[in-house]
Every structure is written in C-alpha cells, then in structure tokens.
Symmetry: C2
Subunit: 639 residues, 2 copies
C-alpha cells in the first residue's frame, strides 16, 4: 500500500516499576494539590470526603419515651412505694407512647404496666425511679459534634443517612479529576459513520473512559483526529489548559504514535517511551505544563493494561485514595504458557473452581483481541525473569472480578457447538449468578482436561470406526483418573460447508484434492479434524494435496465464516454453522455430541442446574429452531 | 402528650420465609412480565441484556498484515525456492506494515526479512507460501453473527467495547423498574426545613432509594405526608398508576402505620402484616392493582433490613437477575448475644481478622440507631429457634462489604478517647484501604479482649493506687495468654465536667453526694469508673448517695453531652470532652492513656502503619491543637 517507512524506535525500554517511579517523581508538584468542592450530602454517594464530617445536631435531638406509659420528673416519684403509692395529678405527668418526645420538665418514664389509672387526670405510682429511667436519651444515635466520617472516606448510602440524621446538609468532597481522551489515527471512524474497507470503529475511548468513571474521573472525548500533526497538537494544547489528565490514543496504524511523541516532546517532556511489558510496550508517559499527557497504544488490550498498570495508580496517587484490589489467588494452570525473557507478559484467563482447586485457563488472542478481555475473569503475569509457566504449575492469578463470580464459573472445555452457547444463555437466564466459560480446545483436549480435573464439563464428538460408536471408546481410553458420566447434548449433522449454492460442485470427500480450491481446516484434536483424517484415509487422499490443510480454525463458525468471507472455498463442519451464513452444505454423517462430567462434581448445584436445563423442553425447543440438530436423545445418559 | 390510643395490632406474625412465599405467590402475574427498552450501547453500562447480542460485523472486518512485508496472492509464489527465486513486479504485491488491511486480490504476507528488494517496483522471493500466511484474518476477534452477550448479562465497559467492535450500536436492555417512596409521619420534616422540638429530618428515603438505585431501580420520593389519611391514600393511588413498586414509609410515631394498613386494605389487599423478625417486625406487604405496595417501618435499621430481606429479592425476582451475595464467613463472637425465641433477630457487627481468625464484635443500638448500620461490615442472624449465642462461639456472619475490607479492618477495643478518632482519621488519610473500628468497652474490657485475641489493639487507662502507676499492673494481671507491648498514646487530664462556668460550684469529689444534682456515670470496667470508685472510697462517699450513679454512658463525649443537654448536672471525664461542648472543668488527675498490642500481630502491615502514625509529628500536632492533652510521651514503649 505505502512504501516501507523508517520509524522512530523506542526512546527507552525499561521495567514498569522504574517507568512509574521515574514518571511519578517528575510529577511531584502535580501530586501535591487536592481540590475540593462543596456539594449537597444527598448527592455525595461514592464521593470521597475532603475533611472530616461532624454531626451538627444530635440524633435523636430530644429525649424520647422508650416505653408506653407516663413521663414524669423523677423527683415527683421520690417516696412512692408498693404500700404507700403516690398520686400524680395531670400537671405532673404526660401520657406517652414509645418514641414520643419528652417535655423538658420531665426526665423519666414509668411503664403503663406499673401505674394504676384513677382517671385520665390522675394516676397512682408504686415506686420511685432514677433520672433517665425508660428514656431513649438525646444523642443515643449521634451526639452533636461527633465525627460522622473521617477525611478520605468513600461515602455510601448509609453515611448519607447518618449525615442527614446529624443535620448535615452540605459537605466538602474531593473534586473529581477530569480527563480528556484524544483518539488519533486515519483508520478510525466514529460509531455510526459510513464504513469503508480498512476503517475501524473507535471504541477504546468508551472502554478506557468507563474504567476511569469507575474511579470517579469525569471524562471527555474529543473528535477523532486523523494523523494530522497540527490538529493533534492543538487538541493537546487545549486539553492541557482544561483537564487534569490527557490521554492521546494512537491508532493501530504506524505513524500516529510517533506524532504523539514528537508533539509531547515539543510542548513539554517525554519522561518514558517504551516499557518492557507485553502487551502495552509502546506507551508514552509525558507531561506538559505539569499535567500528565499519556500516549496510549491503539490496540485495546494494550490500552486497557496500561490503564490498569499506570493510569489507575496515577489517579489514586493524585486523589490520595486507593481502591483495594482483590488479593491474588493460587490457581493451577490448564496449559503451558511461554513468554519472552526481559519483558513482563500479561495474559487474561478464565478461572473456575474445580474440586476446591482454582483452575486457570489462559485465553488466546493478542493485543487486538478485545473479546479476550470480555471473557477473562483473572489476569496472569509472567515476570520478565521467567520464560513462562508449565502446565499444572500452581501460579498466582489476579482476580478481575469478585471471588464469588469466579467460584460460580463453570469451565466447559473440549469441542465447541452452537448448542453450548444456547446452554450458556439458558444458564444466565436463570439469573442465579452462574457463569459458563467455553474453552474450545477440541474433543480430545476436553477429555484430557476432564481426566486432569482442568474443567467442569467437556463437549466431545469422536467417532470410533471399529465400534461405529461415538465417544465411549475415547472416554474409556483417555479418562482414567476420574469416574465420569456422559450425557447426550444433541445429535447433529456433519458435512461439507461450501460457498452459497456450491458453485464449485464439491460433492464428497473425493473432491478435496482439487488444488484450485482453498480448504479451511479445524485444529488438531477436534472431533471434526479426527473425522476428516478418517475420511481422507478411507478415500486414500494425502493431506499434502489439500490446499489450506494447515489453515486451522478453532470453531465451526470460524470455518463457515472463512468460506463466507472468501478466505476459503470449503471446509468440514456442522450444518448449523453453514446455515448461520446461508452457505451450501453437503451432509456426510450424523454424530452424537456428548457432555462428559466427573462424578465427583456432578451433584454440585451449578452442574445440577445445567443438567436440569439440558433436560428441559424449552432448551430442546430452542435447539430445534436452529435446524441441523436432533434432540431425540438430548439429556440421555450415554455412560 | 396525647391520650393513650387503642391500636390495631398485627394481622399476622409469621416467619419471614412464609411471608415472602405468601407475598410473592400473590404477585404471580406481576412477576410474569419483563419490559425492555432500546438504548445506545454506549449508555448501557450496568444494564442487563433483554436478549442476546450478536456481532453485526466482524472484527477486524478485513484481513490485516500480521508482519511488516509485502502482501501477495499465494499463487504468485508457487515454485519459488532458495535456488530459483521468483521476481514479483509492482502489480503483484503491496508494501504493508503490521496492521495494514490486505487488498482483496491478495491472501498472504511475506516478511520483509524474507525478500530481497531489487528496487521499489520489484522484489525477489525465495519460497512459496500457503494461503493466509502471516495474515491476521478477518474475524480474528469477533465473527459476524457471533454471540457477544447472552440474554440476562449485566453489561460492563469491556462488553461495550466488544459491541462497538462488532458494529452494534443499539441494544435491548431490561427496562429499569421504577419505585415511589412515600414518607409519612407528623414528626418528619425535609432537610433544610425549620427544626422544632420533636421534629425528625426524613432521611430513610435517601438510604432506601440509594440501595434501590444500586439494583438499577429508578427512584422517586414524594413530599412528606403528615398523618393525613386521605392525602396518603391519594398519593398511593397516583403512585400505583405510574410506578412498579410503592414504598410507604411510616413515621416512628404511633398511628401512621395503621393508616397505611387501612388504606392498602381499602384499595387492594394486605397479604402480610407483621413478620417475626427483629428489627422490622411491623412490615406491611400489600398489593393494589397488582402492584406491590409495601409499608416500611419508620426506624431506619428496620427499614434497611426489610429492604435487604424482602424488597431486594422482590426486585430480583421481577427483573430475573440476582446479584451474588458474598457467602457467610465463620467468625468468633466477641461477646454473648441474647435473643428472644420465636423471632429471627438480626444484629450488625464489625468483623476483623486477628491471627487468621475472624472476630465478630456486635454493635450496640436498637432499630433507631442508624450509626450502627454505618459502622457495621457484617450482619449476624440469630434464628428464631435459638436463644442467642455464647461468647467465643464460632458462628456464620454475612459480609456486607468485600472480604478485603473486612480483612483490612483493625479492631480497637477498650477505653475510648477522642485521640483514637484522630488516629482513625490519620489511618484513612493514608488511603491504603485500612479501616479502624472503635469498640468502646472500657479499659478492663479492652485488656480482656487482648488476652482472648478478640481485638487487634486496646486502649487502656487504669490507675493502680499501690504502685501509683497506670496500666502496667493491670496488663500483667489480666493479659496472661498473650505477650504484649504497650505504647503511650497520650497523657490527658481527668476531672469533673460541669455545666458552663460551674454554676453549682462543684469543686471536688466531696461535692458528689449532693442529691439535688444529677450525676452521669461511665460504664463498669471503664478506667474513669474505676477512678471514680477509687476516689469515692478515699473520700468515704457511698455511691448510693450519688443521684444518677446508675445512669451509665459509654464515652467521655456522651457524659459531656448529657451535661450540655441538661440530662445531668455533672460527670467525671477528660478535659477535651468538656472543651468539646464549652463546659466547666475541674482538673483532678493527669493519666496515661496507653495502647496495648499483642506481639504476634505487631509486625503486620496495618499495625505497623498505626505505630508509624502515632510516632509522627503531624499526629502529635493534631492532638496538641485540641487542648487537655500532652504528647510528651506519645509513641514511647511503656512495656
């Protein structure tokens, strides 16, 4: 497209701790000031107190009757006994209900049970009482001038109630920080704009600003600035005058990032360019007129990580208030992780609790894959002095959500089918807080995971030509360490997925060695790959003759989509995936897609709910609507 | 004040599970419908999906170069080898940077390192490549039509990012419920209104609505309605037409609650009146025109509990979405709890972690004490078939905040001093997430708590007439099971707190037996009470001759405030408490207020930070500003 450009390479490439310390030191005077604002206490939820709050009035602010009865002055009861009661006349007492205020002249309450009514105007009492007897005293809840909240407390609804009880109407809170997000990059367009090839909808601003909002920051986003140096410069200059923090987001295309660095250097100072972390490496930490100006990488995963590791601590230091992170938990790693020495690598993972042990399943996807962020509930860090972690190694993982959410996550490894998405939907629809994480690693991978206690359930569909049965042979062969049950999820039709109306007339496996057509394959260990290799062997076709045999996808939908988008001409997959994109389909085989569950967890509540869903009419009806499936055996125990 | 009224007593008095089941069954058709609204996805944070969301476009929605190099069609590389390279001319390739889109005619990228540039218009390549080589394929992140979110998911910032990446702009979410809060009661006034004796500022609406807002409910509050039946009736009738949920809040005065019941019965049906829980007993669960109308008790603690136990589940059932509660934790009870058989009793507590064991300190205060809600981090339930729990019993407590907050709470039991409030403020000001819960149980109580590992630190000031020393004798006597350190927090002056300018001329302990004056005492086990009893014994005054000797307060400030408010004429306490209300003060003795800390926790981070604060100049300066204190020994190790 364009000529190979020469690029400015990174100024520095330093460990993150060093980068943060260098940067924060350079912002010393920025961190010194905290501003406040005075607001109505009723509007202060989630704000942070700037100074202590004291009760202006007591609560209650008068003495109250703690019993139903009469209020008196204790002196008028002196001398009363069982044998010589005293008679009090109207002017010496009031009738009171529990909660009624007590007149100033009175200081005690005698219970209704302990008096004898002569008439409404006279009562007899039979014992003396001390002062403050049966009185809910002024200040019982709050005493005037008592401290309601210290400085630097985050205010909640209950605090607001106490402030109001204490007669406090306006309070001083820390003034929220303001930030400006400046998206740059010639390939970016706003949501709703016309979409041309190569255009990317700008969404980092919504994600990053949302995360900043959660920290109490008031955010603003500028219009997208195409890679025009003077426009970027003007926008930054304006922002520096009006905001506490400026974030310049690079597009992912080359070039824009270099502008940012050059502009910050010109207007102020670049303190750090390049941190040895992955993703997030090309961050720029600068300052202009003593305001932090940060050049954020364009890839969403990088941007989010830099926000968590650098911008959040910066904000917390500025407002002197830290939200507590959930401490790391120990988890067993479900697969090996490799990492480059010399840089800290951060990998998102789904963690669930299996047999009282946390299992971490690392998510695939690079810096550009925001769906990995959405799916993750934990973050794994591989420090720069390590080459990675072994499978089954017990490592520290950092929760990104509450432990309850993690404890309620069902890990479903193995083969993937659209029906699993429906199952997941039904589980969420229950509204009980249970989650399901689908980890598509193929049928064989799923069985091995079950064997090693690395998942709760596994989907599998492997055909055994010897027994002409699905799954059972393989469960017996690969699952040795766990007693399991297997349940039919659905029967489905495998076949050849072709372009719409099958223009190349691919009719059977015998047409697979046409080298003018591009095939798209499934990954090793998937039931479909095993089926393909079995079909090729029975047809004596060498896989080397299949153009695209090494182009592997992890799901039926991805295969289908490769055909639909033109990246491939055909593939092997299930009928529902072909139907999803209105593609051609040549049926080959009906197969049984089963769910394998270890017996030692099958009675846990979330698993029981899954099984209940699988057996429900509503679930089967949903599947039957898609087409390409049979639910006649759904829910039946296979093993 | 008014004549004793006759009252309607509770319709029923049934267990809460039965009440909820009866009530929810009666609302069956109410629960059937869920409404939706279509909104911009960028405005959907925290909302709940009404239907699944699918990607409209793929992300990326074109093939991208995964490397810097040239993009080609793989066919044009067929036959190229190291020994017989192929030359590609300008029309057969594009120069691409990582991230650049690939033209439709091309399907592979060759890395810049693997080509040889003849000139800008011609390159030499040395091997063939398969299709999709070095390509970041269309749909890598998201495939068009892929499910982004199932129905019934709560949307977060990352989900919004994924939706935008998938070209989704508008989505259907569950329509928020709306609720109307109607405060009734002749004693209630709005914040800011003129305050007369007996008036209470209405604050329940802010607390309850805030809690409902957190569940996504849009709340509205009507004007306060004095106890006027037809006004209440009209307001309810209007609300039933326009809101999903109506809450009628009774004032705490008798009468208003009965109106509510009568009105709901008249307009619809009261399903339950009275549930056997404490507090919260007099709740009314009604419906009018198939809308829930709930009569909430007026006491804030009761109202909050009913909100948690009944209204929250009602909302969750209506929107079919449940927030996960933090599961109960096991904690050791710091004091005995008594409860009445036949009703479930709920008690708020402060829980901290001492030596790896959770310790629950129940908070004092009845249904009217909202400050107990503010201080609590856990809720204890005593079921109706139990008479209570023993001290040291291990019980289930329900966290009201995250476990991290609980783990970071320092429990400070024992004697109370204003300086502890300052210490707490300094701790919060650090912004590290550490909390301090002050549990005023007197000096002796504090020492016993330290001995039994029921608190982290204890404040103490007990004078030993034999050694003429403070604290050490008593630490040695009462703390046997724990090695401890003691640190001087502050020296302070004890004396007689009198009304301003000491009108009754109370000059020494010898004036304490004037029966025309009302004394206010401190609780048993407090250092001040021990001092008083010692002084009385040396002056030969019998405590029976002191009017008000049994009127006990738990803090210096409360003693001072009793004198200031006119409930007492004098008390024994510290100079700073007298100064707080500008009262008279007759000095008696300088005493040493020390902090006792077990050695086995003294090196924990939060305790070290406390000690650091105690030794800081800033802390001492703050204390010296109050007056009545000396910091000359502050921070010194006493033992």
């Amino acid at each position: 497209m364009n000529d190979k450009k020469s690029r400015n390479y990174y100024l520095s490439d330093i460990p993150i701790e060093e980068a943060i310390s260098k940067y924060f030191n350079s912002l010393e005077s920025y961190f010194k000031t905290i501003n406040f604002e005075e607001i109505e206490v009723t509007q202060s939820n989630q704000k942070i107190t700037y100074e202590p709050i004291f009760a202006k009035i007591s609560s209650p602010n008068f003495n109250l009757a703690a019993m139903d009865g009469i209020s008196i002055n204790h002196k008028s009861a002196i001398g009363a006994t069982e044998t010589s009661p005293k008679i009090l006349s109207e002017k010496d007492f009031d009738w009171v209900d529990t909660g009624d205020p007590i007149d100033d002249e009175y200081d005690s309450v005698i219970m209704i049970e302990d008096i004898s009514k002569s008439n409404l105007k006279e009562v007899k009492i039979f014992s003396s009482v001390p002062p403050m007897h049966n009185i809910r005293e002024i200040g019982e809840d709050l005493i005037q001038s008592e401290m309601i909240l210290p400085e630097n407390s985050q205010i909640n609804h209950f605090d607001i109630g106490v402030c109001l009880a204490g007669g406090v109407d306006k309070i001083k809170v820390k003034k929220p920080l303001t930030s400006k997000f400046i998206p740059t990059g010639s390939e970016l367009i706003h949501l709703g704009e016309n979409h041309n090839k190569g255009d990317l909808i700008e969404f980092n601003s919504f994600v990053i600003n949302g995360m900043l909002n959660d920290l109490g920051v008031i955010t603003n986003t500028s219009h997208i600035i195409k890679d025009n140096k003077s426009d970027i410069k003007n926008e930054i200059l304006n922002a520096v005058e009006r905001y506490d923090l400026i974030i310049v987001s690079a597009g992912s295309s080359a070039g824009s990032e270099d502008y940012t660095k050059e502009i910050i250097s010109g207007l102020g100072e670049v303190i750090v360019h390049g941190v040895s972390i992955k993703p997030g490496h090309p961050v720029i930490l600068g300052k202009i007129k003593n305001k932090p100006v940060i050049g954020l990488p364009g890839y969403p995963v990088s941007a989010i990580l830099i926000n968590e590791l650098i911008i959040k601590p910066l904000i917390e230091k500025k407002i002197k208030y830290k939200t507590l992170a959930i401490p790391p938990i120990k988890a067993k790693l479900a697969r090996k992780l490799n990492s480059t020495m010399g840089e800290d690598e951060y990998i998102r993972a789904t963690v669930g609790k299996i047999n009282k042990e946390y299992i971490a399943v690392p998510l695939p996807g690079g810096a550009g894959v925001i769906s990995s962020i959405q799916k993750a509930n934990c973050l794994i860090k591989i420090p720069r002095n390590k080459e990675g972690y072994q499978k089954h190694e017990i490592i520290n993982v950092n929760p990104l959500t509450s432990l309850q959410n993690i404890n309620n996550t069902i890990i479903c490894s193995g083969s993937h089918d659209l029906v699993l998405d429906i199952l997941k939907s039904f589980l969420l629809k229950k509204g009980l807080g249970y989650q399901m994480a689908i980890n598509p690693i193929g049928s064989l991978g799923g069985l091995l995971s079950i064997d090693q206690n690395l998942c709760h359930i596994a989907g599998t569909h492997i055909f055994d030509p010897e027994t002409e049965q699905y799954n059972i042979t393989f469960i017996n062969k690969f699952v040795k360490n766990n007693k399991v049950k297997a349940i039919n999820l659905v029967d489905r039709i495998q076949g050849i997925i072709t372009k719409k109306n099958n223009p190349s007339k691919i009719e059977s496996i015998n047409d697979f060695n046409n080298e003018n057509l591009i095939f798209v394959n499934r990954q090793k260990g998937s039931g479909t790959r095993i089926l393909l290799d079995y079909l090729l062997s029975t047809s004596n076709i060498n896989s080397k003759n299949i153009n695209g045999y090494n182009n592997e996808k992890n799901s039926h939908l991805a295969v289908s989509y490769a055909v639909q988008s033109g990246n491939a001409d055909y593939g092997l997959g299930i009928m529902s995936a072909a139907k999803a994109y209105d593609l051609g389909f040549v049926p080959i085989k009906e197969e049984s897609f089963d769910i394998v569950i270890p017996e030692n967890i099958i009675n846990e509540k979330h698993i029981q709910i899954l099984i209940e869903i699988i057996n429900s009419k509503e679930f089967k009806n949903s599947i039957n609507k898609i087409g390409g499936y049979s639910t006649s055996k759904t829910g039946q125990e296979i093993k």
